[in-house]
Symmetry: C2
């Protein structure tokens, strides 16, 4: 018979190299979602998160994760994405589009920017136009849409599954 003893403070997994994944989002509707995403990103070992507009992180929700990564606040998303694209980062949008790949079948570029959309409006048209790929997470049941933080956590999980060492 198995014995399972709860371990409260297991040491984290070690990255062999810093993650080359950058997470980027526009101004979001809910700062709760932003805080949840920042916590998940920090736990996943992501070093840089770009957020836009009037960002206020509730440290009770984020568990102060914003202190453990580089959280860059921009006025808008397009300029920094163009700059990153010029620096060789493929831009991968998490969005259902006419041409989106199923994330189950997708191999992430090791170095890339994962872009998520606004809760209601998704990824804006100007950003969609410069993306290199769009990914969708299959949905099987009502209400037919994942919360944005939920979807982001799933995508972070998939990236980390593909690159557990960083």
């Amino acid at each position: 018979m198995n014995e399972f003893v709860h371990l409260r403070h297991k040491p984290p997994t070690t990255l062999e190299q810093p993650r080359e994944l950058i997470l980027a989002m526009p101004q979001m509707r809910s700062n709760v979602n932003v805080a949840r995403i920042v916590r998940a990103a920090a736990c996943s070992g992501v070093g840089t998160v770009i957020a836009c507009g009037n960002v206020k992180i509730d440290p009770k929700i984020s568990r102060e994760a914003e202190q453990h990564l580089d959280l860059q606040i921009r006025r808008s998303l397009l300029p920094v994405l163009k700059k990153l694209k010029d620096e060789g980062f493929p831009l991968i949008g998490l969005e259902q589009t006419s041409n989106s790949d199923n994330i189950h079948d997708y191999i992430f570029p090791h170095k890339c920017v994962l872009i998520i959309g606004h809760e209601r409006n998704g990824i804006t048209e100007d950003v969609l136009q410069i993306l290199d790929a769009t990914l969708e997470i299959p949905v099987w049941g009502m209400p037919f849409s994942y919360n944005v933080a939920t979807a982001t956590c799933m995508a972070l999980y998939e990236y980390c599954r593909q690159y557990p060492g960083g």
Copy 2:
């Protein structure tokens, strides 16, 4: 050049058979977490969620997902888990333990119960004793622990990745 046109109402993926995954949780600290988990479960095509105690689902958070699956509210978790185990459902706990498997390397039984723990206390000792396996999700950075709804969404994602057809 790729063209990505945002699709707002893409049809969901079809299950070839009902999911044999049941999601079960003890009384949680936060009904917000419960609502988020129920929404993610319903979107993932999970048919049955077992929750305990004083459950109140905020339909603005769940997007009324609780109307699209069988949400069973129990007084406590142990009796129903014992019953399900007797019915042939392996019990898989999402918990860091002395003996937990890395979820990246784990093949879920098709038919199983995924058990999640309380936000602070995790899975209780009495439940741990009857589990067939415990799974941990690797964590790479501070604050070194995923929110319970985040971890649940990642585990749901992994199960569905392994069984996209149900």
